[in-house]
Amino acid sequence: MKQKTDVPQGTLALMVLKTLDVLGSLHGYGIARRIEQISGDLLAVNQGTLYPVLLKLEQEGVIASEWGASENNRRARFYRLTKEGRKQLQLETQDWEQTAAIIGRFFAAKAEDLS
């Protein structure tokens, strides 16, 4: 029963980090919206699953959070990247690109290339 919502946790975390990197401080709803937009609704994430991930990242010290006021003056918890988070994002981006490149090459390879 593979569901569309099954985003590997690591991937979701990376998306969160990147979102915060680009947009700066943002609340949970904003992060969820952003991921939805960028993935072009390909990832129909159960938005709630975001929160345990946010907590995990916060406990690892790569993001920090505090209460603040949202655009329409609601109390919301804002998340931002820490210095450590930035480093982590850099590392993971590299890793990801490397992995993607390798996988890409494998997919591009034809039978004669492998012989």
């Binding site: 709803y29 969820a32 159960n46 929160y51 406990q59 918890r77």
Partner: protein, 885 residues
């Protein structure tokens, strides 16, 4: 790093659970509100906007749960929940809880006490620094360690393996510290004793090797802490005080550290006197005679890096030097090393064997308790199978359910362990205060230390896991659909289950214990009624050591004669006999080698026998009721001017002369070459211990073999207390400064019986515990099987089954297991009696009384255990039963 940070964050979060729960609720609320706003803006009607938002967010509770498990440590949260649940479950069945806790408390308590004693007696007996490198020098060919003083000096000076070697002997002195003169057991210790043991004084100073300048040159004593505490009331001013030891002035130098009670576990000397003062203390000076092996033990620390084997080789080379140099006194000198605290292997070996056996037995009891509780626990789990199935069906993992069961088991075992340890404490406190021998300063301080706590905790946890593991298979096999569909009636009977095996093992252990304890009790009874070679009933022993009153030689002899005459004149006294060491009374026995008359070379290896030696008055045999087989007793004319004579026992006659007939009138030789004529032959007896094999003994007229040690055996039908008072008065009128000890001879035998009595008591106690365990085990099983089969039994009864058949169906299995277990246990018990025979007099299970006793005991046990379940099975009313479900 990151992992650690997350872990600690979680740990703190677990503690602040409630406050943090609000944060996620608020965030979720906000999120949904924002999404609703968004949806409103997109033109959805308000209600639909919110519904969509909630849908999009996903299962709120599931996410909260995820969030929680991410935030805190699930483990601790669950543990708290499991504990609460377990407590609730246990409260709901107080009967089960009480049985389980008490069973565990008994088993764990027994283990704690036995381990506590093992710890105090064998593992950590002496409170001295670096006890692990401290060894006693023991003879190679027998488990003893006595030495002569010159040999000790040779060993000390010539060895290259020990830091230094100390020597000591136990002795009794009269101490006059200003009040009533009293007899005190002391250690005569070499000057370096405390330095060898690396001790520091609690008060004042110790004596040292530098204080010794030849015989009687060091009139100093060092008090043991406990003697100082009890007899000098912790008076710090005692240092420097002069007291009278055997009427000689001695100065108190200091007090030994608390916890140090000499280097023998079973003997706590009151104070320590330098060995060079032997003459003033013991009345003889053996410091220069190589043949007088009066030193009880020599001991020392091995040098660092020296192995035991190297040290033994070193000592043996000194031994062969001694053999060569002093062929007359020292032959066959080989050595080995042993722990000093239990007099080397002499007591160490049986004590170790006994304690190991006891530890094993108590471990078995714990195992039985676990098996027992395990089966009860398994039965409970089976009763709860519907609950388990329901939880499985609702999505609980099997691991989660097992954890819950283990939490319950551990909770029970911890409660039982705590109760057991508390009981153990009380018992160990009693043991520490207990002085088993009235005459001997023996005390065993069993103060539980960290080892005992750790062992008790480990045993508690282990037993919790052990009996908690019983239902595991059951839970793992549970199929929720089947169980919920079917009614709760389980299937009983048929295959042999682990539970059956557990019960059989337990019954076997119980039968083993019952067998051993009956064997031990029988042995004890037999020992009490065995032929001692004298009749201790109606005899009071009054004893004193005349050297404590300053008597020696001819004066001592005159005093002894006066004492005999004076006591014999007391009204109601039938007869009075003098003996220098009363048989089977603690304190010591003298023995001597004897040679046939034809032997010219009187070296040790040419001896015909080694015989106990007693100096007695002519009337001793009459007073002791020792039977003459032939010949006569001594007369008062057998004094130092008359030819030397002896009365020997049957065993002596057999060994030295071949038979009693050859012995009468014949001669034998003592090690100094004296020829003795045999004038009488008496029956064999027990002299040093009740378990000894028939041993040779000789009785010499005390006028020819003087000793200051004085025992008067006073036979009379008068009330012992009155008589004792009269004897005391008589003795005081002869010399008021002489400490006299008095007691019925019967009571003195307690020491000799101590080993068998202890074995009988401990085995008896364990047997009772084992029986109780078996009863609960069988009861649990029978009750469970009856309750499970109520329906089936009801149907049988409705169909016309007789009472006998119903009982057969309900209890047949339990009784069969009882039979198998008892047989196995009896067999094991017969094997185990071989071990027992080291301690218990003539322990043998090949005794119809033992066999019958075990069978009766096990039958009774089965009857008690199945009584209630049987009643319940018989009381089934099929009509009522069938109307239910």
């Amino acid at each position: 790093m990151k992992f650690m940070r997350r872990f600690f964050a979680r740990l703190t979060n677990s503690a602040t659970q409630r406050a943090r729960d609000e944060r996620i609720s608020e965030e979720i609320e906000n999120h949904i509100a924002m999404q609703t706003d968004e949806n409103l803006r997109a033109g959805l009607p308000p209600i639909e906007a919110r519904r969509q938002a909630i849908l999009k967010f996903g299962g709120r509770e599931a996410i909260k749960e995820d969030y929680r498990s991410e935030r805190g440590l699930l483990f601790f949260d669950n543990l708290a929940r499991d504990l609460r649940f377990a407590l609730r479950m246990l409260r709901k069945s107080p009967g089960f809880t009480a049985v389980a806790v008490i069973t565990l408390a008994m088993a764990i308590g027994a283990n704690a006490v036995v381990f506590g004693v093992l710890n105090a007696l064998i593992l950590h007996p002496l409170h001295v620094p670096q006890a692990e490198s401290l060894y006693g020098i023991q003879h190679g060919n027998e488990a003893s360690s006595y030495q002569s003083y010159p040999d000790y000096l040779d060993l000390r000076e010539r060895n290259r393996s020990f830091d230094d070697i100390a020597a000591y002997d136990a002795a009794q002195v009269g101490l006059d510290a200003g009040e009533d003169p009293s007899r005190v057991w002391i250690f005569l210790a070499s000057g370096n004793y405390f330095d060898v043991l690396r001790l520091q004084p609690f008060l004042g100073r110790f004596f040292h090797a530098s204080d010794e300048h030849g015989p009687n040159s060091a009139p100093y004593i060092v008090l043991s802490y406990s003697y100082w505490h009890t007899h000098f009331q912790d008076d710090r001013g005692v240092v420097g005080r002069v007291v009278q030891v055997n009427k000689y002035p001695y100065t108190i130098l200091g007090v030994a550290p608390p916890g140090f009670n000499g280097t023998l576990v079973f003997f706590n000397p009151g104070f320590f006197v330098p060995l060079v003062d032997q003459e003033q203390v013991e009345g003889v000076n053996d410091l220069s005679s190589r043949g007088k092996r009066f030193i009880f033990m020599t001991l020392g620390h091995l040098k660092p890096g020296v192995t035991k084997a190297q040290a033994i080789a070193d000592l043996n080379s000194i031994g062969s030097y001694l053999e060569k140099t002093y062929p007359k006194d020292d032959d066959q000198r080989t050595f080995t090393l042993a722990r000093p605290s239990l007099y080397g292997d002499y007591l160490g070996k049986p004590a170790r064997a006994f304690m190991t056996g006891l530890m094993l037995l108590s471990a078995l009891i714990l195992l039985a308790a676990c098996a027992n509780l395990g089966s009860l626990f398994g039965a409970r789990a089976a009763d709860r199978s519907r609950e388990v199935a329901l939880r499985l069906a609702l999505g609980a993992s099997r691991a989660r359910i097992l954890r819950q069961l283990f939490t319950e088991a551990l909770l029970l075992s911890l409660m039982g362990g705590a109760l057991g340890l508390w009981g153990g404490f009380v018992l160990m406190g009693g043991l520490s205060a207990w002085r088993p021998f009235s005459r001997w300063p023996a005390q065993l301080p069993v103060h539980p230390d960290a080892n005992v706590y750790v062992v008790a905790l480990l045993l508690t946890l282990a037993s919790g896991f052990l009996f908690g593991a019983f239902p595991v298979r059951q839970v793992l096999r549970t199929n929720p659909y089947e169980i919920i569909k079917a009614s709760s009636r389980g299937i009983v009977g048929g295959r042999i289950t682990i539970r059956d095996l557990a019960i059989v093992v337990q019954i076997a252990i119980c039968a083993l214990l019952v067998t051993s304890s009956i064997v031990a009790v029988r042995g004890l009874l037999r020992a009490l009624h065995s032929d001692l070679g004298f009749e201790p009933r109606n005899v009071i022993l009054a004893d004193t050591d005349l050297s404590m009153g300053g008597y020696s030689g001819e004066r001592a002899l005159q005093m002894q004669k006066r004492m005999i005459d004076a006591v014999a004149a007391i009204p109601g006294v039938e007869s009075v006999g003098f003996i220098d060491w009363a048989p089977l009374v603690s304190g010591g026995n003298v023995d001597s080698l004897v040679f046939t008359d034809a032997t010219a070379d009187l070296r040790r290896s040419n001896a015909a026998a080694e015989s106990y030696l007693f100096g007695v008055s002519p009337d001793y045999f009459q007073a002791a009721h020792t039977v003459f087989l032939s010949g006569r007793t001594f007369t008062w004319q057998d004094d130092e001017n008359a030819p030397r004579v002896a009365v020997i026992n049957q065993e002596f006659a057999r060994r030295v002369f071949g038979s009693a007939a050859n012995a009468l009138g014949a001669y034998f030789k003592m090690p100094d070459g004296t020829r003795l004529a045999v004038v009488g032959i008496v029956e064999n007896g027990k002299y040093a211990s009740l378990t000894e094999d028939p041993s040779p003994a000789m009785f010499l007229p005390f006028l020819q073999s003087p000793s200051t040690q004085t025992y008067l055996a006073v036979r009379s039908d008068r009330d012992p207390a009155q008589l004792a008072a009269a004897i005391r008065g008589t003795m005081r009128s002869l010399d008021a400064g002489l400490p006299v000890y008095m007691g019925p001879w019967n009571k003195e035998l307690e020491t000799a019986l101590f080993g068998s009595r202890m074995a009988a008591i401990t085995l008896g106690v364990m047997g009772v515990i084992g029986a109780m365990l078996s009863i609960t085990g069988i009861f649990g099983m029978a009750a469970y099987s009856v309750s499970k089969r109520l329906r089936e039994l009801g149907i049988r009864m409705a169909l016309g089954a007789q009472r006998k058949e119903v009982l057969q169906a309900a209890l047949g299995r339990a009784l069969k297991l009882l039979g198998i277990g008892s047989a196995a246990g009896l067999l094991l018990g017969i094997l185990a009696s071989r071990v027992l025979s080291a301690i218990v007099y003539q322990a043998t299970p090949r005794d119809p009384v033992v066999l019958a006793g075990v069978v009766v005991a096990m039958l009774l046990l089965g009857l008690v255990a199945t009584w209630i379940p049987a009643r319940r099975a018989l009381a089934i009313d099929p009509a009522i039963l069938m109307r239910e479900d």
